[in-house]
Symmetry: C3
Subunit: 306 residues, 3 copies
């Protein structure tokens, strides 16, 4: 992808000082790496792939360095997975701004270094910070705010109306106009085809460093704590607050008006219907259970079947 990246340059990025002019074309797994690629070992289960790897160099920790075959160069670091992550940027495609093919309201502001791709929509008085990437066909409604170093993937909607209606006597509904906004703080990444609703009053907030996968629904007035990780197809109902560093397994749902303690982990396909007060616990299932209890239940169900 990028031209003229030497192994010396690769090594420098992860804090290693060697001199080797071999051109490196990318990163790959131990199994698939070619002689012009670097690889990495971050888990014992891949150790067997070390013996036969073709990689020019392998990022490893101290303990595993001796396992690197003589045909590869060992690049020894404290945390090979983090070093691989740092290095991955070097081989990424540089995107070109294309805002002349996007819609940016005259009253919107876009910070320096931000890349807006074709088909994106940035509404009235919306603000996008610096060095962010707004992918194709993303729709950011009026008055919403997006921070610095944010990435929003294609076809995601930021600031659609929260789902609020007052029932009428004749069984029809009157719309409650959603006059708040969405605030996406710095260093957030949001996947493709997500929908994050604006608040009825005040703001729906995605706090700094949070990472959202694809096809996620965040309802009005939710607050997602710092550095939370929300995997694909989660839905969070209105006015729920997640503490920092929450981790939600895929296809889970959290009911509305709950408070979820910091450092909470939720297994995939769980339904959370009550607030969680204790920090740092893991939960699973629907009616939900602490993970240990859930596994016990699965075992009892298995016995019930015999």
């Amino acid at each position: 992808l990028r031209d003229n990246i030497t192994l010396t340059k690769v090594a420098t990025i992860i804090g290693i000082d060697i001199s080797d002019d071999t051109l490196i074309t990318g990163i790959n797994t131990l199994k698939d790496a070619t002689k012009s690629e670097v690889s990495f070992l971050h888990s014992d289960k891949y150790a067997k792939d070390l013996e036969t790897t073709q990689a020019k160099a392998v990022i490893v920790n101290e303990q595993s360095a001796s396992l690197v075959p003589s045909t590869s160069i060992a690049l020894v670091v404290d945390n090979p997975y983090s070093s691989m992550a740092e290095l991955s940027k070097l081989f990424s495609k540089e995107l070109q701004d294309c805002r002349e093919k996007a819609y940016i309201s005259d009253s919107a502001t876009v910070g320096e270094g931000t890349i807006i791709l074709a088909g994106a929509y940035i509404g009235d008085n919306a603000k996008v910070g610096k060095n962010s990437i707004i992918h194709p066909n993303v729709s950011i409604y009026h008055d919403c705010e997006v921070g610095d170093n944010v990435i929003i993937h294609a076809n995601t909607t930021i600031g659609s109306d929260g789902f609020g209606f007052a029932p009428n006597v004749d069984r029809s509904y009157t719309k409650i106009y959603q006059n708040g906004n969405v605030v996406v703080e710095d260093d957030v990444e949001i996947g493709a085809n997500c929908a994050i609703d604006r608040a009825v009053f005040d703001s729906t907030i995605i706090k700094c460093g949070s990472k959202l996968d694809n096809l996620i629904h965040i309802a009005h007035n939710c607050i997602i704590g710092e550095h939370s990780v929300i995997t694909a197809q989660n839905g969070i109902a209105g006015s729920t607050t997640l503490g920092r560093n929450a981790v939600l397994g895929a296809q889970s749902g959290i009911a509305g008006h709950l408070e979820i303690a910091a450092f909470t982990t939720v297994a995939a396909r769980s339904g959370i219907t009550k607030s969680i007060k204790e920090e740092g616990k893991s939960w699973a299932g629907f009616q939900f259970f602490e993970m240990k209890t859930w596994l016990k239940l699965q075992a009892k169900i298995a016995r019930l079947l015999k």
Copy 2:
């Protein structure tokens, strides 16, 4: 947001005749309202917030009027929640039509007062009625019909092909072209990133007054009854008919070719696999249970765990 809205004007909208030139900037909760905002009390659980509210005026019913502190003006109505809903429109942002940045087929028709935002797509022979709002990057396929006073949020698809394929002897599939359309009747609101498929023959219909949240899948030939409420991430399989005023909790699914009686309520994360004939009942779970039975089951499971 809007300029020069006096308390007199606010009161008039909800049927109260007072004279007060205080400028009002918005609606907010009792807790967060400032001295230039109005608030409302619609549930006893917020009554405690009345004592300390800063709101200039509070919309309340007769019984609670005496609880409004002397620092606020009581606006007494029959149904505070409905009055708040009516009022919310006054403070909403006026959207500007931007159809020159959208795609509207020459053979499509768009009614008076309808606002089309940038990036929207309206295909051949599609019809959009009056006073509707088509948000950015909405895609309305050819021959689909959207009524009056409809709101469709960003990145939603109306009229994609239903999922129909005939299996071949060699285990490949032949596409069944979907030559029907989608009809969205008057007063419907559809959230962001939904997909509503066109019928194979005839029409997929969303009847008047229905409200759909985000990320919802409606398959080909479904009929959604009047004033139904479908919350986020629901999926309804092909040829299923919902009676009027159905209410579906989030992340539920309904199998195909079913008939769901009017006024049916379904709990969040349920899977409905049989038709429901009796009107006005509530259901939960998967294999699904009447709500009472489901709660009993949860209790039995809890005991099983002891």
Copy 3:
């Protein structure tokens, strides 16, 4: 829809030689077909509709031919459902290319006969094959490849970044740039509002003939086998491989790093957490069970409730 289609022409397409100049306007069910439409019988449960059908002609197999009333013409074929599918194309709307209202990178290539609709995005070095249809507001990221005879419905995203982050000591995350791509092989159809992530290294692959419904999440480095059928709102986590002709019921999820044998069927709303080695089996539930076991469990739960 199309003009001047005679019954003779209709019959020819499904391999029948008759001469009848009646103009045919479409296909419909036995119940709804008018005198200018053809219908079909593909299941005994619709046999009762034969007696009263108004259809000009009915596609039937040998055994049912005698049931067609004298007011309709029997079109006798081996497989009526397949013949109806073949015929459906004749009545479909011809779409017009509108690439001047789409974004196609200068370095992208688009094959002959492919139709690109307004608002679509095709990034740098992306390749789209021949006779494909890219619907409105589809986003195809840089370096992705789409084959021949592929249909991608509106607002779908191909090639968004896989969800990969390395945890840091301070509990923040470092992005792992996703430098692979997505390959969509020939004859694939992908529904509306899907998100298919690019691989971290190498390719996420949707193999030839596979059919995906709406709102589906395919994570990085998945491989979807030939002629698989994935219904709406499924999610497949990273690096999972589906064998050929897998069939996934709606709203199911498959965990990451699994291998699912060819010809596997999964019931709706299942969660698959282990690899499946035996070909051609059916599975259901979460913690998942073979279908027979799951049905037994449902029966036991029903008894538990008594």
